[in-house]
Amino acid sequence: MSLLELKAVRRAFGGIVAADGIDFSLAAGERRCLIGPNGAGKSTFFKLIMGLIKPDSGSIHLDGSDISRDEPFRRVQRGVSMKYQTTRIFPTLTVAQNMFIASPGGKLSEVAAWGLDRLELARNAARPAGELSYGQQHWLEMCMALGNAPRVVLMDEPTAGMTPQESQRTAQFIKELGDRGIAAIVIEHDMGFVRGLEAPTTVLHQGRVFRHGSIAEIERDPDIQRIYLGDAHG
């Protein structure tokens, strides 16, 4: 049984159809990349899963139960977590305070503690989060997303603005998350990073799942190139 499942999810904003009957399925511990040209509906996809937007039709299931009507905080409590595209940590508070807030009841979860250690944020505990480097802020936010010991983490362009070494480290980190049984869906534009993740890839286009396969297959596919570059008739 899949961990996360979307069935025929549809959502329109006025005249724009951001999600046009999306069917999607993710197994426990599975890593997945989500790519697609701008406006394909990737961020909407995440917002639908998190409950920031409600679908017009269709349903979303986590571990078999229907979460389509749940408030966002309910979904987080049930085990889905999101890392924003732009960092939304609390910059005036210290790293330790940020993690304190991200830990339900104030108890640091094991995986979050592991994450802080692995990404070497633990020694910055007393620094205001706003003083960290850009990459470290992203990592802090990833650890915060681990605060509630989630089953699946959604990451929206986690390496935007990172150095190549930081990107590599992030890819490694996400793989190790998978080893610990935590599934991840990663939206990315950086093809090098996507290749480094070695994960099945889903391509979104115009609010629909366009293609699904390994990154090697995706890169060879001429249709994919066309939707990214636009064809003469499009």
Binding site: M50, L52, E71, P72, F73, R74, V76, Q77, S81, M82, Y84, R88, F90, T92, L93, T94, V95, A96, Q97, M99, F100, I101, A102, S103, P104, G105, G106, K107, L108, A113, L116, D117, A122, R123, A125, M144, G147, N148
Partner: protein, 360 residues
């Protein structure tokens, strides 16, 4: 935050946290703290407690009315400074507390019954705050509508109370009294002690309550609950996506603030033996906002100090001219917001703290 020992790099021991930090009396979210702070705290409250001995009892009694405003102000500071909710409705709960106590105390009589009346009045205020808070927060209205909604609540209450002049407006033996308000409210009495405006027991009671409230709110602010509330203020959506039902947090703090406002109202009724609609009115609703804004809403200590100072100032000015008092208050508010948008008292105290640190 004992779970943070695990944040220390492997091999080093996390420094033991002081008693003050473990209880939450000191912490990251209270602005001032440490040994100096608590020494001064004890000193100031000690000096105040012994004041009737070396100073004038009359001044102490006068001072009581200023101190009574502090719980009301601290409730708003918690709500506004730690949760980002600006409520013009705190005086509504002040009024509910005062009127409820008045009704119950007049009907139940003197002696221990007054204590029962006070407790029940607090309970009623909490219920009212919970009901209105539910209405307010479970609709997820945008943040800036809340001041208007709470203002409307206050006005509704004032309008209603203002027209209760007729003799038919009574609950039991208690006449609501319209614009003139409810009079002859018995003070809280416990044994030989009468907590009224003419003798010292109320002074000591209010002093103790202010100290306890300040300490208690500090502990709340530094707790996990306080941290989450602050997070809600900084970035509401982010806090929600960390798995917190923000409505529950906002409602809880709203009820706490309402309780503190009600407490002030009950103490006021006991002090003056009356309560009137102007305590709930348009002008009155802005006083707590004035005290908290001018003092600095992020610091509970600043608000406590500022409330007493501003109340004393307006009381002194009112001796010369009531209007002048308001004009000066208005000017303080206006220029305070322009010059020190974070609050005048907190800016001053921070400056002092910085100077003393620089000298070391």
């Amino acid at each position: 935050m004992s779970s943070y020992n695990s944040l220390a790099a492997p091999g080093t021991s996390a420094s033991p946290r002081s008693f003050l930090e473990r209880t939450g009396l000191d912490g990251q979210l209270t602005v001032f703290g440490g040994r100096w702070y608590w020494s001064l705290f004890v000193l100031v409250f000690g000096a105040a407690a012994t004041f009737p001995i070396y100073g004038s009892v009359f001044t102490a009694l006068n001072f009581t009315s200023f101190l009574i405003n502090v719980p009301l102000a601290l409730g708003l500071a918690l709500l506004w400074g730690y949760c980002g909710v600006l409520s013009f409705g705190q005086v509504a709960f002040f009024g509910i507390g005062g009127y409820a106590y008045g009704v119950l105390a007049i009907n139940w009589g003197l002696g221990a019954a007054t204590v029962g009346a006070a407790v029940c009045a607090l309970g009623l205020t909490a219920l009212a705050a919970a009901a209105f808070g539910y209405f307010l927060f479970y609709g997820r209205v945008s943040a800036w509508i809340i001041p208007v909604l709470t203002l409307v609540l206050t006005l509704m209450l004032e309008t209603f109370l203002g027209q209760t002049a007729g003799l038919e407006w009574r609950i039991g033996d208690a006449q609501l009294g319209g614009f003139n308000g409810m009079t002859n409210i018995p003070s809280i009495t416990v044994g030989p002690f009468s907590f009224d405006g003419f003798s010292l027991p109320l002074f000591y009671l209010v002093l103790a309550l202010v100290a306890l409230t300040l300490a208690g709110l500090r502990m709340l602010a530094n707790s996990h609950f306080g941290h989450v509330s602050m997070a809600i203020q900084e970035d509401q959506e982010r806090a929600e996506l960390l798995g917190y039902d923000i409505r529950r947090y906002q409602l809880t703090i709203f009820v706490i603030a309402g309780l503190l406002a009600g407490l002030s109202g009950i103490l006021y009724a006991s002090w003056g033996n009356f309560i009137q609609p102007t305590s709930v009115g348009l002008l009155a609703s802005t006083f707590p906002v004035l005290w908290v804004a001018v003092s600095g809403r992020r610091s509970l200590t600043s608000v406590a100090i500022g409330t007493v100072a501003l109340s004393a100032l307006s009381d002194t000015l009112a001796v010369y001219s009531g209007e002048l008092a308001f004009v000066v208050m208005g000017a303080i508010l206006l220029f305070g917001m322009m010059a020190a948008p974070n609050g005048m008292v907190i800016t001053l105290l921070r400056g002092i703290a910085r100077l003393s640190r620089a000298r070391k």
